[in-house]
């Protein structure tokens, strides 16, 4: 191995195992329900506990959401999948084995497109594809809490459907790992596969990190940091662990293949006390669950539910609708928001940019303000408001943009009308008329005012300057006209009339 000194001489190699709780009502092999925030052990039945005489039966929804995920990432859905027992003694597991898939997972392969941060917020960063090895459907385990000399076990989480998504070692930096998780979460939530609420532990990661001298083809010895429950935890682990490994190698020490934990409060990793022989799981096929045959009809039906890929949509908005990256990236981040935008564009296809700007600036700002209000003080338990929580409809927003484009109201007035629409859900035209905002486009009446203003000796100097060729001098006349019409005059009409009268 070459004696490298600078950290840039090293390449970081990362593989992730992402555990995602699937969006179902019942558990994966038992019929009892599950959900966050229940009293301990209230969501447990005989199958979850593995009591004698019970038989696990696989939840259809859990299988279908797993398949849907596979289709979202363009993976292969094999015709057969099967479950195995992973044997270990630990109190988080009431049966002494976890039902998982070892040799015949439900999803094989696939790849996820990621977007790295750009040079600044309004510049799109580099795109890259990360390959998946497979994804398998297993059961979550119970939750341990430690108090005094003992531990307490709550089995509510045991048996919750868990999709474990395993990447190839394709990630090369903390930023790539972070971008991958953001992209994955967007895909899972937009397809309705999972909610991925990290505060509720619905997405947890194991992070494999190794380093090697740049240019080397052989992978270095890796460590696995387990149970990271946030994207920032994964990012910080990669930064910490890669730096640690480089230091070790530079000091001439070897990397020990080990399982590690992460202390988020202190921002450091540590070696986990290895459960004795924890890696000897003695997998064998579960005799209670027969191999499942997945029909091609099911795969075809689920294919119809695959939403447009996030970045395909972003490219379409930028290329076909000429949206700037800033607006496009904001709209595609939420599927419902993107659909809402498209409904508005369908109602008024002439100005997608005008519609996108109103959504990205005004609508999202007012929605965020509404969420902050309703959650009140302290810890926010109210989910962020979505477009469906406001009375405003896409066609109404489109109508507002159209009114502005036609010059009936100014852009400034449009903001005022928008604020009212957001509160009441009224049509923009109704608000324009109620507030008397309609710009005066009556040429006869306006021409009279323009002539009166032009005749005022106070503006004689500006008129002379304009006639002498100073184009900008004409603007000095517009103010008094606007004032006389209480701001209701159509600015382009004033301009036309002034030029006509002044010759």
């Amino acid at each position: 191995m070459s004696q490298s000194t600078a950290s840039s001489d090293w390449e970081i190699v990362i593989g992730l195992e992402v555990h995602v709780q699937l969006h179902t009502r019942a558990k994966v092999f038992a019929s009892c329900g599950w959900g966050f925030g229940q009293e301990p052990n209230e969501q447990v039945d005989a199958v979850v506990l593995g009591l004698p005489g019970t038989l696990p039966v696989v939840n259809r929804e859990a299988v279908e959401r797993s398949i849907l995920f596979g289709l979202v990432v363009g993976a292969e859905i094999p015709e057969r999948c099967a479950w195995d027992r992973k044997n270990y003694f630990y109190p988080d597991n009431p049966k002494n084995y976890q039902l998982t898939q070892k040799d015949f997972p439900v999803v094989v392969g696939g790849k996820v497109e990621i977007e790295l941060p750009g040079a600044s917020r309004n510049v799109m960063g580099e795109h890259k594809w990360i390959r998946l090895h497979h994804a398998h459907l297993e059961e979550d385990v119970g939750k341990l809490s430690h108090a005094g000399g003992g531990s307490l076990v709550d089995y509510n989480r045991a048996g919750v459907p868990l999709l474990e998504i395993v990447t190839e070692p394709d990630l090369r930096s903390a930023a790539e790992a972070e971008a991958f998780l953001r992209s994955l979460v967007a895909m899972l939530t937009q397809a309705g596969v999972a909610d991925c609420d990290m505060e509720k532990g619905q997405l947890r990661c194991d992070c494999n990190v190794s380093v090697r001298p740049r240019g080397a083809t052989k992978l270095g010895t890796r460590t696995e940091t387990k149970n990271l429950n946030s994207i920032s935890g994964v990012r910080d682990t990669v930064i910490y662990e890669s730096a640690r490994q480089i230091r070790e190698l530079q000091a001439g020490r070897a990397i020990v293949q080990e399982t590690r934990g992460w202390n988020a409060e202190q921002g450091r990793g540590y070696v986990l006390r290895d459960k004795e022989d924890a890696h000897d799981y003695r997998y064998f096929p579960d005799p209670d669950i027969p191999t499942l045959l997945i029909s091609r009809d099911t795969v075809q039906r689920l294919q119809q539910q695959v939403p447009e890929n996030l970045y395909d949509r972003q490219r379409r908005y930028m290329e076909k609708l000429a949206l700037p990256y800033t607006a496009a990236s904001v709209l595609v981040a939420q599927r419902r928001l993107a659909e809402w935008f498209e409904e508005a564009v369908a109602a008024y296809p002439a100005n997608p940019q005008g519609i996108a700007n109103l959504i990205a600036n005004d609508l999202l700002r007012d929605l965020a303000a509404g969420s902050a209000e309703s959650s009140g003080e302290g810890v926010s338990t109210t989910p962020a408001k979505t477009v469906d929580d406001c009375p405003l409809k896409p066609a109404q927003l489109a109508a507002l943009v159209k009114l502005t484009d036609e010059g009936l109201i100014s852009k400034q007035q449009a903001k005022e009308v928008f604020a009212e629409m957001f509160k009441t859900g009224q049509d923009p035209m109704v608000i324009v008329e109620q507030k008397g905002l309609k710009q005066n486009s009556d040429t006869g009446e306006l021409e009279k005012i323009v002539r009166e203003v032009v005749a005022d000796p106070a503006v004689a100097k500006s008129i002379a300057e304009y006639r002498a060729g100073n184009e900008k001098a004409i603007n000095a006349l517009k103010g008094p006209i606007m004032k006389r019409t209480q701001g209701k005059a159509n600015p382009s009409l004033i301009d036309q009339l002034l030029r006509k009268i002044l010759g």
């Binding site: 301990p40 052990n41 447990v44 039945d45 696989v58 259809r60 341990l144 499942l292 045959l293 099911t298």
Partner: protein
């Protein structure tokens, strides 16, 4: 002697303390069981036998939450409990 397994390792994984006599006895018995499986593995079986262990999606369960036991019943079968949770000796992924 045992073929393809280490009886002491298996005993450790299963949390069993075996006497020297038991080790010999169980190794013989396990060998005998494995012998049956070796015979099955070597048999030339038609594909239908494998298919008998396969089910279609009709065998899946609908995603409808059913009854639960309740925390009281769950903790009643445990040797010790506290506040609706099962109490066990301290097991922590402590730092080494």
């Amino acid at each position: 002697m045992a073929e393809g397994f280490d009886i002491e390792h298996l005993a450790k994984l299963a949390r069993l303390q075996l006497t020297p006599e038991e080790k010999v006895l169980y190794a013989q018995q396990l060998n005998s069981v494995l012998g049956h499986f070796r015979a099955l593995a070597e048999a030339d079986l038609p594909a239908q036998v494998d298919d008998a262990l396969v089910v279609s999606e009709a065998a899946l369960r609908a995603d409808n939450p059913g009854p639960t036991l309740g925390a009281e019943a769950v903790t009643r079968v445990a040797p010790a409990s506290r506040d609706g949770q099962i109490s066990v000796p301290r097991v922590v992924d402590d730092e080494a």
